[in-house]
Symmetry: C2
Subunit: 199 residues, 2 copies
């Protein structure tokens, strides 16, 4: 170890569990918090320990929650007729932050990927089918990623919805806002062209 | 808060105490550790708490240490005749990692900056003078940064060394390895030109 303090060396090594943090960033973070923000570091240590200990998955939507039922599922003000299906909790957060969506969620915690051992069972589709069978959901918004696996997952979800007599919708594909046609990949451009609508 | 779990929201907010971590990175980190690396997060929480609690400054060199005397100062195998003076603990680490230096260090924990209330006393120059007066140090290597404040600090350090009858040296300035002359700033190039040596 090349610091004068073994504990500091241990901290630098542990910081590398964070995504995008390499050797240099870990050093910078460790020195920064010790030199300038010990209160912040103490708070981070407490919250990290607490979150790791307590945050599990919501019984109803499989999103992150420290309660049996998450804040979204427990909220009486959210629309019970809408159910948005996402791959991961971070996608759920992205939709929540970007859109005015105020319905419920269902988190697959993955995408259909038989090679990785992720099938209908792992994605909780039995739970989702039971949820649709309750009869409250009128529209299921399929918000899986536009990747090969995400599309396969979306296809399977649409079949599930059809079986339950629920309308299934998919996020629109097209030119991203602020994007320039010149730099957009062909697939997206073809999609946007095919899906053009009247002005 | 727009996650389904308040504890997760707290964690995201706390992660922002790390340098270079904004709202998006903090989200990504929080979701990553909860989804994929709870063991790593638990270890990080422990080590962070421990480092914040225990790591102080070495009595002798002012570098980081959880002991009264840091690993470097306590090492019997390091050369007592060499003393390298740096501004911060992170500079100490940089020298330790990049060079084969095996002498002792003295950390100023800042640079001369009267505007910020950093004078000789704050930089521990009395401690440094006492160290030089012990008579063991033969060469004091001044490794402050090549900034205006760093140069002023270096100047003061050289006076201190002269008063103690100790030889003071300064890191060489010049063209960085791999740098191209075309893109090097004028000051550095002028320094390198003036300091040319025989091949």
């Amino acid at each position: 170890m090349s610091t004068g303090s073994p504990l500091l060396g241990d901290l630098i090594e542990a910081l590398r569990c964070l995504p995008g943090v390499g050797a240099k960033s870990a050093q910078r973070m460790a020195f920064h918090v010790l030199e300038r923000d010990r209160a912040g570091a103490r708070r981070l240590a407490e919250r990290l320990a607490l979150a790791v200990e307590r945050v599990g998955n919501c019984r109803r939507c499989r999103g992150f929650s420290e309660q049996d039922t998450c804040v979204f599922c427990a909220s009486p003000s959210r629309d019970k007729h809408l159910l948005c299906v996402v791959e991961t909790p971070v996608d759920q957060l992205a939709i929540e932050q970007a859109t005015g969506y105020c319905g419920h969620y269902f988190v697959l915690l993955g995408r259909l990927s038989p090679m990785d051992g992720l099938g209908p069972k792992e994605l909780g589709l039995d739970l989702l089918a039971a949820r649709l069978a309750e009869g409250e959901v009128e529209e299921m918004i399929v918000a899986t990623n536009p990747t090969v696996e995400g599309e396969a997952t979306a296809h399977m979800l649409s079949q599930l919805a059809r079986a339950a007599g629920v309308k299934a919708t998919r996020l629109a594909h097209g030119v991203p806002l602020g994007g320039e046609l010149e730099f957009i990949d062909r697939g997206t451009l073809a999609h946007a062209f095919g899906g053009r609508h009247t002005l």
